[in-house]
């Protein structure tokens, strides 16, 4: 599947899950900041991506569940260097550049853009 085709389908998922208009779903749009995603929407997005693309997404594969729970990786509300390294390793589809400057755990969800999801699907479909 081409990246464009993946983008189209991801856009449909987000229009459905977040009740936004098609034209709001741009590649760089942040799920939380631009599209108004809340925590439960992340679970809904996982379910809808699974249904759309026919693969299974394990807990923590798309969004960083497990890393955030480990005390080694989060200290005083900030992600540690080790934590950041682990995040990058586990989530290659995410661009953490903007997060690194101020890695507050409460803000981690803001790095997720539409591109993040497209990257994830692309990687997963290529591995299959």
């Amino acid at each position: 599947m081409t990246r464009d085709a993946i983008f189209e389908k991801v856009r449909e998922v987000l229009v459905d899950a977040l009740a936004v208009d098609e034209d709001e779903v741009t590649a760089k749009a942040s799920l939380v900041d631009d599209l108004g995603a809340e925590s439960i929407d992340f679970l809904d997005i996982v379910f809808k991506l699974e249904q759309t693309f026919g693969f299974k997404i394990a807990q923590g594969e798309l969004f960083p569940e497990n890393v955030m729970k480990d005390p080694k990786y989060v200290k005083d509300g900030k992600v540690t260097t080790e934590g950041l390294a682990r995040l990058k390793e586990r989530l290659p589809h995410v661009d953490f550049a903007s997060f690194e400057a101020s890695p507050e755990i409460a803000k981690v969800a803001t790095v997720f853009t539409v591109d993040t999801l497209v990257n994830f699907v692309e990687n997963k479909l290529n591995k299959a």
Partner: protein, 178 residues
Amino acid sequence: MRWMWIDRVVELVPGQKLVAVKGVSLAEEHLHDHFAADSARGLAAAPVMPASLIIEGMAQSGGILVGHAEEFRQKVILAKIGRAELRRDATPGTTLRYTATAERIDAQGASIKGLVELFDHAKPGEGYQAIGQIELVFSHLDHNMGGAGQTGSEFPSHNFVFGEGFKTLLRSSGIAVS
């Protein structure tokens, strides 16, 4: 007043589908306010089941389907109403039928598609008519406190979701429950 918005589970395919019915009755207290007569506007009373409670009935149907799939060990809570469309009113003397179909159930929660149908006892020949669709997302509270990396709220350790009211419903519907 017990908060049970379904009367009986009539079909259960574990992990896949649950069908429940609810009779709408004039004995339900809230119907006399929903809607009460409005003499100022010359309107007679019009008892109609609130749409929010129809959604609750669907949520209870879906919640039981999801909970039953894990032997009621999980605290299944309704987390999101994705979409709810209801095209007709449910009035006293009708029966609502909820069909909850599981699209996905996993450790974190579940995604359920719901069909709402209505049977008018004054028009039995018409059978059950589809009157709406409801899409729901449930969360397994102990596994997923709302989403990606959130912590904070403390919840009781016992399963407060599936209490005696639900157990009575299940037993009288012939579903085994401990």
